[in-house]
């Protein structure tokens, strides 16, 4: 029973990470029908931005008295930078290619991911090797009848839930969220209705990339290591979660992320020799969804029109 609860917690943790990535992915698809394959590498950019900042802060001696203040500030700074990066990606890469066939844009996003990945490897000192990620979150935890709930795990889960709730608020209750929903339904008509499409798309890119930066930081704290090429895996998992939930659907991405995390953790725990094939299980799940329910759990069936 005890192992089961431990597994439950790690499944929740993995789900949180996947959900954060999937939400960004699904928003891009919803708004401009783009599968942004550089999304996972944006996460890793967040990871690798935080590490030098943390080292710098430690060197300056800010950490010892004010750790509880400096670390959130650093995280917010990184999130802002990745958010701006998302806006830059849209301005430089996506916008000029919006008129081209979607295949070109998709391939360009793959190449952009490759450029980010390799730039991190080349620029970061000793970047080809895995790096130790600093401990950002408090160690220790609550003991509950032989079961430890680490403060760091609780923080990750709590942060994710907070982000999802506030994002949900933005999308459902604010004017900007209304614009996003309108653009994702029909961008031409929403333009006629006076919505500034460009502004809406940019805000989606900022939000998605900021979440990706957060996901990268949380991923680093959870595993304790950072590697330049973790992004391709993280991005594909996020995409898979978005597909399972229904591409373009915000709530679907959350459900997909949670489902994918649980499948991965429990399959690799209970299937003999499963931990080696952890990724294989999640991809099998995605392929099963593509065959039997290509529109995902929440997605509506798409009828293509001429």
């Amino acid at each position: 029973m005890n192992t089961f609860f431990q597994l439950l917690i790690s499944a929740l943790l993995v789900s949180s990470l996947y959900t954060l990535v999937a939400v960004g992915f699904t928003m891009y698809v919803g708004v401009i029908n783009l599968a942004n394959f550089s999304h996972g590498d944006t996460c890793v950019m967040g990871t690798f931005l935080l590490m030098p900042l943390f080292l710098f802060a430690t060197k300056m001696g800010w950490m010892t008295p004010l750790a509880g203040l400096v670390i959130p500030a650093l995280i917010i700074l990184v999130i802002l930078v990745t958010g701006l990066w998302g806006a830059g990606i849209y301005k430089i890469l996506v916008k000029p290619l919006l008129v081209a066939p979607r295949l070109i844009l998709l391939l360009a996003s793959v190449a952009a991911g490759q450029v980010i990945r390799e730039a991190i490897r080349v620029i970061y000192p000793n970047g080809s090797n895995p790096q130790v990620f600093p401990k950002l979150l408090p160690s220790g935890g609550i003991e509950l009848s032989g079961l430890t709930l680490g403060y760091d795990s609780l923080t990750i889960i709590f942060l994710t839930i907070a982000c999802i709730i506030s994002l949900n608020f933005i999308i459902q209750r604010t004017k900007m969220g209304l614009a996003m929903r309108a653009v994702s339904q029909n961008s031409d008509v929403s333009q006629i209705m006076g919505i500034n499409i460009e502004k809406t798309i940019i805000s989606v890119f900022i939000l998605g990339s900021a979440l990706a930066g957060l996901a990268g930081i949380l991923n680093g704290t959870y595993y304790g290591i950072a590697k330049f090429n973790l992004g391709s895996n993280l991005g594909i998992k996020g995409f898979s979660a978005a597909v399972i939930g229904g591409l373009g659907d915000f709530q679907g991405a959350i459900i997909g992320g949670v489902l994918l995390g649980f499948i991965e953790v429990f399959a690799s725990a209970y299937i003999p020799n499963g931990s080696q094939y952890q990724d294989v299980f999640s991809f099998l799940a995605v392929i099963a969804f593509l065959i039997f329910r290509p529109s995902g759990i929440l997605g509506e069936k798409i009828f293509e029109k001429v």
């Binding site: 998709l106 390799e118 597909v243 392929i287 593509l290 029109k305």
Partner: protein, 405 residues
């Protein structure tokens, strides 16, 4: 038709006569300089000269038409000369087996790029895990010949068909879905194949497969060197000719497929799947065919690679390889067989010349793909507009060059 057509100097017969030999000389000189000289300066200089000539070719008005016209006129002479040079040039590189090795790898890359071009270029299906099919072919043929002792020729074909089967299976779940689902499934397949090759016992795990036997032709092993006039040639030369033969075969086959109805239907599916379906084209079957044929070529390339190098490991077939082949296709020109071959040649030879910068190779590949897509998405050589006309028409048309290209 642009107005510059009138600028073709029909009277200037002398220029028209020497233009083909001149072009041939320039191209061969640049290629030879890049290939044969182990000097970064020479390579860089030749690349710069080649690039500036290319820019001049596409920017100077009227020049394009003249050159196209002369190429069309002397097509057969050019092809024969090219073939003779492809056979003769390596004979001059007797003391540089490493360069012949690079050329063999370049030939294998051409086969690879042609396969991916069917999928990405002709049909418009993104395949981001192409290296997995390459790996499946390499492992299939290596396992067949090391474990079962099957001869190279049979395992070569078997590798192609096994890879094609995998291509078919991977294509199946995404027929009814959108293009980015295909991208996801292909990446996932690439990762799964990589994990499997690393973890399964019979593929040798991360150590790969060693001692893959060399091909034999009528009992004569390709690992024994040829002697011509008492001079022993490096064994790489044997492979060079074997792979050259197979590559040319594949180029010709691809050319015919492209010009057949299948190629046309692929293009139709790429441009508008619904319209293609409405015109009675079986889009699903054609997409599967394109995927399997691309995978077949990858399998053949993999088998050639395995038997040439003699050692394979999962590292040869990871995501980076997929992206490199993608770079070749995009740089050369999607859906243009000649362009794709050029792209494959450049992107497999050039990195060997800049080995000092090997660390930046993947960064450069990513940048090349990105910049090409942003500024010249059609690649070095544009895809040609298909001309379907009777012989009467085409002979009439050939007097005025077409404007694309």
């Amino acid at each position: 038709m642009s107005h510059s057509n009138t600028g073709i100097p029909n009277s200037n017969a002398f220029i028209n006569r020497i233009i083909t030999p001149f072009l041939l000389f320039v191209v061969v000189a640049i290629v030879y300089a890049i290939v044969a000289y182990e000097s970064v300066v020479v390579t860089l200089l030749s690349l710069v000269i080649g690039a500036s000539l290319f820019v001049g070719y596409s920017k100077i008005p009227g020049l394009k038409e003249i050159i196209k016209e002369s190429i069309r006129k002397d097509k057969i002479i050019l092809l024969v000369t090219g073939l003779v040079l492809a056979i003769a040039i390596p004979l001059t590189l007797r003391s540089q087996p490493y360069i012949i090795h690079i050329l063999v790898i370049a030939e294998i890359s051409i086969i690879l790029a042609l396969g991916l071009n069917f999928q990405v270029g002709s049909t418009g299906i993104p395949n981001l895990g192409y290296a997995a099919f390459y790996g499946v072919g390499a492992y299939a043929s290596a396992l067949l010949s090391t474990r079962l002792g099957i001869s190279f020729w049979i395992s070569l074909l078997a590798a192609g068909f096994i890879a094609a089967l995998f291509g078919w299976l991977v294509g199946l779940p995404t027929l009814k879905t959108r293009s980015y689902h295909m991208a996801l499934v292909s990446i996932a397949f690439g990762l799964v194949t990589y994990i499997m090759l690393n973890n399964l016992a019979f593929t040798g795990g991360p150590n790969g497969i060693k001692n893959i036997p060399a091909p034999e032709i009528f009992g004569w092993s390709l690992f024994s060197s040829i002697k011509i006039f008492g001079n022993a040639y490096p064994v790489q030369l044997n492979f060079y000719y074997l792979v050259l033969f197979i590559t040319l075969l594949m180029v010709v086959v691809s050319h015919f497929v492209y010009n057949s109805k299948i190629g046309l239907f692929w293009n139709a599916v790429r441009e508008d799947e619904i319209a293609a379906k409405c015109s009675g084209i079986n889009a699903s079957a054609l997409k599967l065919l394109s995927f399997s044929m691309g995978a077949f070529l990858a399998g053949i390339a993999g088998a050639l690679y395995a038997h040439y190098v003699g050692y394979i490991s999962p590292e040869n077939f990871n995501m980076n390889t997929s992206l490199q082949v993608l770079g070749m296709v995009i740089m050369g020109g999607m859906d243009n067989i000649f362009g794709v071959s050029i792209g494959a040649f450049i992107l497999s030879v050039a990195p060997e010349k800049f080995r000092a910068l090997a660390d930046f190779r993947m960064l450069a590949t990513g940048l090349i793909i990105l910049l090409m897509l942003m500024f010249r998405p059609s690649g070095i050589i544009k895809q040609q507009i298909r001309i379907y006309a009777t012989k009467y028409f085409s002979s009439k048309k050939s007097s005025n060059g077409d404007t694309n290209g």
